[in-house]
């Protein structure tokens, strides 16, 4: 089955679910994806009227993590009296994970949210495609069979879909939102019960085998173009602090400049803050205007908490994340010991 047909099926199903939720007054507003204003993009949309349901789309450019709009709640999702509206949220796997994790961190209440589960089939790696197209202007992007088709003024280029999706999507094991007994009320559409995720993190092996110097050089090269626009932070559903550490004063712990060492520290501490919390949606990389792909760091975060604490963020609503808990028997092979 071609990707475009799958997308169409998902889209139809999603619209149907959204329409029912609105009709049955189970929700006041639907958050979903709409067509983007420029090619290779999509946009968020809030729908309160049944007529607008057909504006909802699903394709492989729906890279935004919609959970972001719930924490803090944007004004469109609050009624004039200040109460939370009931929200139906179109959720691919990583949006579902974000919702569950935000519930664990007491940021949202899944009682006033309906998770409209959809089985995501992968998000296109915008940067990789753009790089191939080079300077040429893209007018249209579509999927056909197993290919991504990019059309411009006087060209058309095909890319194998499996190769040109985000690195995170290639290894993704949570395509549709996770659910469990305690949150099944909130779930409609395609959600999955996940008991134990297996992952060998083979994709990290090559990088981790590098020497410290090679790693440092790689990281420097990766981040050297960062302008600290903080688009990554703004797109991240887990970056919801009132005052990000880089904006704190008294004391100002880390430099705010775009000098490379300050940039690296920003990404290092941000990674630290996302350990056991990152839901591997890849939104940070998708929105980066400089095309920096942070997937390696994302994968490392997932690997560390999985291997050390047998934890995967956002797949069950009952287990406390590793940084919120501790265990007498945790591994401590990294501690300095006498010879």
């Amino acid at each position: 089955m071609g990707i475009e047909i799958k997308n169409q099926e998902i889209e139809n199903q999603m619209r149907e679910l959204a329409r029912n939720l609105l009709n049955e007054k189970k929700v006041d507003v639907i958050i979903g994806y709409a067509k983007g204003t420029v090619p290779l993009s999509s946009a968020p949309i809030m729908i309160t009227n049944e007529e607008d349901i057909d504006k909802l789309i699903w394709n492989n450019l729906c890279y935004i993590n919609l959970a972001k709009y719930l924490v803090p709640r944007i004004p469109q999702l609050i009624d004039p009296e200040g109460n939370n509206l009931k929200v139906g949220i179109v959720s691919k796997g990583c949006v579902g994970r974000a919702l569950i994790h935000l519930a664990v961190e007491k940021q949202i209440n899944l009682d006033d949210i309906k998770i409209i589960g959809i089985p995501c089939n992968g998000i296109i790696n915008r940067k990789k495609v753009e790089k191939e197209i080079d300077e040429k202007e893209i007018l249209e992007v579509s999927a056909s069979g197993n290919d991504i088709v990019v059309k411009g003024k006087d060209f058309e280029q095909k890319f194998p879909f499996d190769e040109y999706i985000n690195e995170l999507c290639k290894v993704c094991k949570v395509k549709s939102p996770p659910t469990d007994a305690s949150i099944s009320e909130a779930c409609v559409g395609e959600c999955q019960e996940i008991s134990n995720l297996e992952d060998d993190f083979a994709d990290l092996a090559e990088f981790e085998a590098k020497s410290s110097k090679e790693k440092w050089d790689y990281i420097k090269d990766l981040l050297k173009t960062c302008t600290r626009c903080y688009a990554c932070r703004e797109a991240c559903p887990m970056c919801y602090c009132n005052l990000c550490f880089v904006d704190q004063n008294k004391p100002i712990w880390f430099g705010k400049t775009t000098e490379l060492s300050d940039i690296i520290v920003f990404h290092l501490i941000r990674a630290m803050h996302l350990a056991g919390r990152c839901v591997a949606c890849g939104a940070c990389s998708s929105v980066c205007p400089m095309g920096i792909d942070l997937n390696l760091i994302t994968r490392k975060l997932e690997k560390m908490v999985k291997e050390r604490f047998d934890f995967t963020s956002g797949i069950d609503s009952e287990t406390l994340p590793p940084m919120m808990s501790f265990n007498m028997d945790d591994e401590q092979e990294f501690m300095l010991e006498e010879d």
Binding site: I269, A275, D339
Partner: protein
Amino acid sequence: MTVKNEQEAEKSEEWEPKIIAFLCNWCSYAGADLAGVSRIQYPPNIRIVRVPCSGRVNPYFIVKSLTDGWDGVVVSGCHPGDCHYLTGNLVARRRFAILKELLEFFGIEPGRVNFMWASAAEGERFAVLIRKATKIVKELGPNKKFEKKW
């Protein structure tokens, strides 16, 4: 040994790293005191900062120490189970495990930041581990990764 290696060896003999050490008040700081009372000698490279508990040590302290030019960082707490605050060191241990792995993932040499446990009775162990940490950092050479270019 080539001339160049010789020069480097000489240079590293002259050079002494500066290491900042965050010690919990109840076990490790007491262990460091005991090393003193017992007159156990260890290299004079560490500068000790007393904190109530290893659980107090925020990753900021460690990363800031590195960016501010300390050549090495040591964090020492009570052995698991001995924490004066019951579980502060267990909370800290998870945090340190992640931070250490992340630092190494970013290309910081594994020996720059060292976590250890030392009890109030382990003056000898404290000295042994500080000797070891000092040796490791010294072999790594000066910490220049975060030196500002401008």
